[in-house]
Symmetry: C2
Subunit: 167 residues, 2 copies
């Protein structure tokens, strides 16, 4: 919530505030995640990742932007939006949908992932979901969570597009 302000100065990327208790290896996770994509672990990206992890809930990009500005007035709007996508891409965060066409992000260690949806022609194939019943019930008792509804969708290539791909 209230990290000592670093002596902000100039523009562009600044050195990290330097002095976090390093509760979780966010720095390491970021370095590895970015390296795997040929990206750089910048101070801004770290700030965003830590904010996400601290939130422990889904946060919208605008929400996060406003929150980060408080301690870091220099951070750019575009940077926050771009970073969120980068984190998702690196498997360090995930995107969710809230009712009313609102989208939010949450930190997540491992990527998670109903329908078959072709990413090339967008063809959809409905799938059988019988297998989920048991899983749902177990989750409810294990986490004390009340499941109202869930989404399960598979993304990939339909048979036809897979062939064209290899041609």
């Amino acid at each position: 919530m209230s990290r000592p302000h670093s002596s902000g100065s100039g523009r562009g990327t600044r050195s990290l505030p330097a002095g976090q208790p390093a509760a979780q290896p966010a720095v390491r996770d970021l370095s590895e995640g970015m390296a795997a994509r040929g990206r750089r672990p910048t101070a801004q990206r770290l700030v965003v990742l830590e904010a996400l992890r601290g939130a422990k809930r889904t946060v919208t990009a605008p929400e996060l932007f406003d929150q980060l500005r408080e301690d870091n007035p220099l951070i750019g709007r575009a940077t926050v939006f771009r970073t969120l996508d980068s984190l998702v891409d690196a498997g360090l965060a995930q995107r969710f949908e809230r009712p009313g066409h609102v989208y939010a992000y949450a930190a997540c260690s491992s990527a998670h992932h109903h329908h078959l949806v072709c990413t090339v022609c967008n063809t959809t194939i409905e799938i059988d979901e019988a297998a989920l019943g048991m899983l749902t019930r177990e989750l409810e008792s294990r986490h004390g969570f009340t499941v109202h509804h869930a989404t399960l969708d598979f993304y990939g290539l339909c048979e036809r597009c897979a062939q064209q791909e290899s041609a």
Copy 2:
């Protein structure tokens, strides 16, 4: 694709083009779906549903609007957007996300539904997904589909919010 234009006239709701081969009981499904929600099965809603079913793939709202205009220049932009949400609400369609923050719809007979996400406080709890491996493999062989990635998220109430709810 090319249905005979009904003699368009005036504004507002018109009577249906009247003359479809009625391949699938789209009319009936719509009636039932809307009735269950206290809504009316209008001509526009039927056109949208049939277009969705005919597409057999996910379609964005703007895409669908442009497509529908061709045969029905009178249909309103807002109507298409609203109708899509209505169909999802009635369980006759579902919403999907495409890469790049693009959202699309597809007709679907039964609602489908990884993470636990509280719809009140948005708290998230990561869940174990080991059970999905088998399901994924079976789907791939059954449909000739190549799964690249999938999303599975549960929505509902966390323990705390469930208590407050009942208070």
